[in-house]
């Protein structure tokens, strides 16, 4: 790649996937890709993780869907998407023609929906891996989020891994007491790795009107406010399960933030909300990462994975 000083290697391996650099898009924060191609060359990215698609089209929730909170934001979009078939027909061909791996995100309400989605995307040209968004209510279990239960996690992930040979990443919610236990269940069910973390469930109230700021009442918290939670969650999974492929997600904006999540144990880092605050956040993080390595006499970003030291002894 041009502009990389000799000897600096930004590439990383996420299981069988080789990425040219560790910075990828967070699901739901990059639309179809065309919108952002107006601002920068998508080949700058390590990979594109696409908006979660469902079996049938989803209209999404009514607005207001967004409320800004201290160094973060709440969103309740309701997975608005055209459905997997329309996505394959309309968005995937364009993405597949870009010089960047595509990781397709899927979301279901039942175990069988996950299986059908995996079947639909298996052997479709242009997809390098699947990210399985299991931070979704399981309608067969009173709406309890799949990723809140080890059993439901294993069931949804097995449904996918037994249907396709594509690498599979299970996207976990931080709203659990033992995220490493959920990650273990996903890996046992055949997942290649885990994506950590999805948004935290939150709520904001307009105290003048006494109403929730979001039409849906509650929503997912993202942005810099959640970064320490993401770093903690990634590190817990890394410590408990050893060097497994982890896509670290949550509040990353700068190259330093990317390095922090990598040191905690992430093999790649997804950037979401930061793109909303600055369309050029991702290319700037990639450039900054290159400079950070140079300044620290580091040769390869992969060497930093899990490189956090123990706390200073007192």
């Amino acid at each position: 790649m041009t502009g990389v000083p000799a000897g600096i290697d930004l590439s990383v391996d996420l299981g069988p996937l080789r990425l040219r650099n560790p910075v990828v898009t967070a699901s739901g924060c990059f639309a179809s890709g065309r919108e952002m191609a107006r601002f920068f060359d998508l080949a700058t990215l390590g990979a594109i993780v696409t908006k979660s698609v469902t079996l049938e089209p989803r209209a999404g929730l009514p607005p207001p869907r967004m409320a800004e909170t201290a160094s973060g934001m709440l969103n309740a979009i309701g997975l608005q998407n055209p459905g997997v078939d329309a996505w394959i027909a309309r968005d995937l061909p364009w993405l597949a023609a870009q010089d960047v791996p595509v990781i397709a995100s899927i979301a279901g309400q039942t175990v069988d929906e996950y299986r059908l989605l995996a079947k639909r995307l298996d052997n479709v040209a242009g997809i390098s891996a699947l990210e399985v968004n299991i931070s979704c209510p399981n309608v067969e279990d009173r709406g309890v989020v799949f990723a809140c239960r080890a059993g439901a996690t294993a069931a949804a992930i097995s449904a996918v891994t037994s249907t396709t040979d594509l690498p599979v990443f299970a996207k976990l919610t931080p709203d659990v007491t033992d995220i490493a236990g959920i990650a273990a269940a996903a890996l046992e069910a055949g997942a290649t790795g885990v994506s950590v973390i999805n948004t935290l469930l939150g709520m904001a109230i307009d105290v003048e009107t006494r109403r929730p700021k979001l039409a849906a009442g509650t929503g997912g918290l993202s942005g810099p406010a959640i970064r320490p939670v993401a770093v903690r969650a990634v590190h817990q999974v890394w410590q408990a399960l050893g060097p497994v492929p982890i896509i670290g997600i949550g509040g990353a904006r700068t190259a330093q933030d990317v390095v922090e999540l990598i040191m905690a144990g992430a093999g790649a880092v997804a950037i979401g909300t930061a793109t909303f605050a600055d369309p050029l956040a991702i290319p700037q993080a990639v450039d900054g990462l290159r400079r950070w390595l140079e300044d620290h006499d580091e040769r390869g970003v992969a060497d930093l994975c899990g490189a956090v030291r123990g706390p200073v002894a007192t």
Binding site: A31, G60, F276, D278
Partner: protein, 269 residues
């Protein structure tokens, strides 16, 4: 004809070069030549704000441009932390700015009587639109409404033979007492009349209803809470006959007949 989606959009910096008050509003002028060169009335920019704890950019309609000088004006109402911070910045402050964003108003192709209906700061962008319409030979009538005289945006650049301005205030402190929509219907009798509106959503809903009742074409600039302003976060959606559509990229100017007004907050009669 559809307005071009912003192929020429830039994510750049802008320098604050001037500030003044206009009634209850703050007019902030920014030097941003790349954005100015491509902007049309109805389009907007997003601006970074530095208030503690704020994260997202704030969207504002482009209220006018000086193409030669590379300067654009934003007319800002202070409603919260971000807008308060913005209007408190000294001249020569440099901010991140992305624009021009979204679709602007589509100009009529044949000679038309253009009725422009604005509420609050929405009037500012319409004043610019009005100037362009006049320069292309159209007759322009601008209806400007607000709650009180202080919130009435002062129009000063539509002082020509083919343009007129009618003001309304809800409390009667200036012009016609009542809503701007009270005086709209009687102005839509001509076959060649086209309606352009910019203001709060309930006002747009009323304008759309009246225009539809008279069978007149109507374009509205919608507003909804925005996250990214560039089409990727799916938060600023507006209900249309075709489902939820992003205001930032498929709007903010939309054909009023596309919008499912009964599903807009404050939009049903």
């Amino acid at each position: 004809m559809t307005a071009t989606a912003t192929a020429t959009v830039r994510s750049t910096t802008a320098t604050l070069v001037g500030r003044r008050r206009a009634a209850a509003y703050h007019v902030c002028s920014f030097s941003a030549p790349d954005i100015v060169a491509a902007a049309t009335p109805g389009q907007f920019v997003s601006v970074s704000v530095g208030a503690p704890g704020t994260l997202l950019r704030r969207p504002f309609a482009v209220a006018g441009v000086d193409v030669a000088a590379g300067i654009l004006d934003l007319v800002i109402a202070v409603v919260g932390e971000g807008t308060a911070w913005l209007v408190g910045q000294p001249v020569s402050t440099v901010l991140a700015m992305t624009g021009p964003l979204g679709r602007g108003f589509v100009m009529p192709v044949t000679s038309a009587r253009c009725v422009l209906v604005g509420g609050g700061y929405g009037v500012a962008a319409l004043e610019w639109l009005g100037q362009l319409l006049v320069s292309r030979g159209h007759v322009v009538e601008l209806l400007s409404g607000a709650a009180t005289v202080r919130a009435l945006y002062p129009v000063s650049r539509l002082d020509t033979g083919t343009a007129s301005v009618i003001e309304t205030t809800e409390d009667g402190s200036r012009g016609h007492a009542g809503l701007v929509t009270d005086v709209l219907d009687e102005r839509l009798t001509g076959d060649d009349t086209a309606v352009f509106a910019c203001g709060p959503m309930p006002m747009l809903a009323a304008v759309a209803r009246i225009a539809a009742g008279r069978g007149r074409p109507c374009q509205v600039a919608v507003e909804e809470h925005m996250g990214c302003s560039v089409g990727v976060c799916m938060t600023c959606v507006v209900p249309t006959t075709d489902g939820y559509t992003r205001a930032c990229i498929d709007g903010p100017v939309m054909d009023a007949s596309r919008i499912a007004w009964d599903h807009v907050r404050g939009g049903s009669s």
